[in-house]
């Protein structure tokens, strides 16, 4: 601040005399920043924004731009010239819709199953578990969430293998007929659990389940106990209270969790390649296109699909108040 007031000059000199200013460079830098809070915020934000803006967003937009390049018809090498040929092929190819539909259906099934398994756990954790039990359960959800993805997929390969645990248990309980019946079911079945849609579905559900549990717990924690007592007080049976009060209030948590289960299932390429029928899902398709096929433009076009789906999904989720439950 600059004052042109004639009096201010001697006063400034006075400032220095009266207050023993420790004018180390750090102190002066600190004061300069303290008096300019906006500058400090800007300086704090610059490194993370540069990193994410340049490295992450930069790469992302570069990739999306690639979908407007094409391949040379003879050499199969990417040509850096603007063309919509890739997009035309993308929309024109029935295989595209095959992949997208299959992936979306899988993502929806996994999301529903995860919600179904997550809700009782979350409900028990929030309403019935004591302090210690709650901590144990919480850690019990956190551990698989953060522990190795690959190891957990691997565990299922062991479990679902032809000579693995599921088969052994089925034999032990004389339920081989049931397992065989399941495997013979059209669409979901296959030669063994580890080479069927059912296997893929189980593993997806298993892997992403913790991502559903935590937001639902957070949402349930926010339902005040008094509301539930009020419902009971007004004559609702526990089941009615659950349907009419608890579930609607916890629903944003389910939506928040579904963002993750849905997005993660949609983009995963490892699980279907290890466990399941060898049919392409979205993630695998992208992987194959950029890798073995070397068709970067088409791979880029395919990556737009989950981005668009997630964009729509996030917009809807925001309307449903899911972000407050995150």
């Amino acid at each position: 601040m600059v004052t042109l007031d004639a009096r201010s000059e001697p006063e400034r000199v006075n400032t220095a005399a009266a207050l023993p200013l420790k004018s180390s460079p750090l102190q002066r830098l600190s004061s300069a920043l303290y008096l300019r809070p906006a500058l400090l915020t800007f300086l704090l934000l610059t490194p993370p924004l540069l990193w994410l803006g340049v490295i992450y967003l930069g790469s992302l937009f570069t990739l999306l731009a690639h979908s407007f390049f094409g391949l040379d018809e003879f050499s199969g090498v990417m040509v850096r010239e603007f063309t919509v040929a890739t997009w035309a092929e993308f929309f024109g190819n029935p295989a595209t819709w095959d992949v997208v539909t299959r992936s979306a259906l899988m993502a929806i099934s996994v999301t529903l199953a995860a919600a179904l398994i997550a809700f009782p756990i979350a409900h028990y954790m929030v309403r019935y578990a004591g302090m210690r039990m709650k901590a144990v359960l919480y850690l019990g959800v956190m551990l698989p969430l953060w522990s190795s993805y690959l190891v957990r997929v691997y565990a299922w390969k062991l479990i679902l293998a032809k000579e693995g645990i599921v088969s052994w248990f089925a034999a032990l309980l004389h339920l081989d007929w049931l397992l065989d019946a399941v495997l013979e079911t059209p669409v979901v079945g296959g030669p063994s659990l580890s080479t069927s849609y059912l296997g893929t579905f189980i593993v997806f559900t298993y892997i992403w389940l913790p991502f559903m549990i935590l937001p639902v717990v957070a949402a349930l924690e926010r339902v005040p106990g008094s509301v539930i007592e009020a419902s009971g007080d007004l004559g609702a049976k526990p089941g009615q209270t659950f349907r009419k009060v608890i579930f609607p209030l916890a629903f944003p948590g389910v939506v928040a969790g579904s963002i993750f289960t849905f997005s993660l299932t949609l983009g995963d390429y490892i699980i279907p390649s290890i466990i399941g029928k060898s049919v392409p899902f979205l993630g695998e398709t992208v992987y194959r296109l950029q890798g073995t096929a070397g068709n970067i433009p088409m791979a880029a076009a395919f990556t737009v699909v989950p981005i668009v789906i997630m964009g729509i999904y996030l917009t809807l989720a925001k309307r449903l108040g899911a972000f407050d439950a995150l």
Partner: protein, 347 residues
């Protein structure tokens, strides 16, 4: 009060602080004398806390000048001001012991360890917390935390101590004993105290002078008795103590001129309708409506020609005849003219 020649401890010259369109402090000018216990009283959002933060250096004025002991503090950050603050929620450092909290300022100034320890023990003794040196703030009661906050500020021997509603979180009993203690400590250390509160009783009982804030402006500055007995405005009369506000015909009859007048309830005396009236007092006839027993006093609501007056009476033995205090009784009220205080209208 300081003479005109002494440098004020704090001086505001036409200071404003705006947050966007909101004028939190609106063109305020006042001085606080050295060694004074000065209170800033007002409802929440009246600008008193912003004034305190301007003195501390947490806010910078949008316009105007602030001087601390004659030095312009424009652009001086809090850590270079010779001023310390006791925060409303104490703001004790949770990761440090009581002793480390108290010594923080000395540690920053690189005072040797032995001296630090000695001075902090002295300070803890002053605020009656000897023996608490090694405790963590979380192990203390609200009142004890408040004392630690006080010790932490005073150990730096600031020239001005700022207190932001320091007793607000305490219960009534503790608050009253802390009021006395704070006042005693202030006399002992001789530091200028600037005390922000919304509790008018606190401001009246502790301050040498107080400023009443409303809508970012100062409505009145003066000693407690000046502010109480001669409220300058309708707002002050209503905010500091209880009052009867009169305007219209009755006001004109009592005050002599049209305008608004304030009369304190305890300045009105209730007599029988036929009682002899002393010279030089104003009289109003009325009828008792309700009586509320309050222990030491009673509150009597009386309907008069133009509305209603509240009277506070001491419950003395042999006071006004019981008959006059019965609901429905006709009474004559007398008020000395010097207690009929003209006030300006407030927003």
């Amino acid at each position: 009060m300081a003479g005109a020649e002494a440098t004020p401890a704090v001086s505001f010259q036409e200071v404003s602080r705006r947050f966007g369109d909101v004028r939190a402090v609106d063109n305020v000018t006042f001085d606080i004398a050295d060694g004074e216990f000065f209170s800033m009283l007002g409802p929440s959002g009246s600008g008193k806390t912003t004034c305190l933060r301007l003195i501390a250096g947490f806010e910078q004025p949008s316009s105007g000048h602030i001087k601390v002991h004659g030095v312009n503090v424009e652009g001086v950050p809090p850590y270079e001001r010779d001023v310390n603050t006791v925060f409303q929620d104490y703001a004790l450092f949770p990761h440090m012991s009581v002793g480390e909290n108290v010594e923080y300022g000395l540690m920053i100034r690189k005072v040797p360890k032995a001296e630090r320890r000695q001075r902090s023990e002295e300070m803890l003794k002053l605020v009656k917390l000897d023996g608490m040196y090694a405790r963590k703030p979380s192990q203390l009661s609200g009142g004890q935390r408040q004392r630690v906050a006080l010790a932490r500020a005073l150990i730096n021997r600031p020239r001005v101590l700022l207190l932001d509603e320091p007793l607000g979180a305490l219960d009534l009993k503790l608050r009253e004993s802390m009021q006395n203690e704070l006042k005693a400590i202030q006399r002992q250390v001789g530091i200028t105290f600037v005390y922000v509160t919304h509790d008018q009783g606190e401001a009246l009982s502790m301050s040498d002078r107080l400023a009443v804030f409303n809508h970012g402006r100062i409505e009145q500055i003066g000693s407690p008795s000046e502010v109480y007995d001669h409220p300058a405005s309708q707002f002050v009369a209503g905010f500091v103590g209880q009052t009867n506000l009169l305007d219209g015909y009755l006001a004109q009859r009592l005050g002599g001129f049209p305008g608004m007048y304030a009369i304190r309830p305890e300045r009105i005396r209730i007599l029988t309708p036929d009682a002899e009236v002393p010279m030089g007092v104003a009289t109003i006839d009325g009828r008792v409506d309700t009586i509320t027993y309050l222990g030491a006093t009673s509150r009597v609501e009386i309907n008069v020609e133009e509305g209603r007056l509240t009277v506070i009476e001491q419950n003395l033995e042999g006071g006004t005849a019981v008959a006059e205090r019965r609901p429905g009784a006709n009474v004559r009220l007398i008020i000395e003219r010097r207690h009929i205080q003209p006030v300006s209208e407030s927003q």
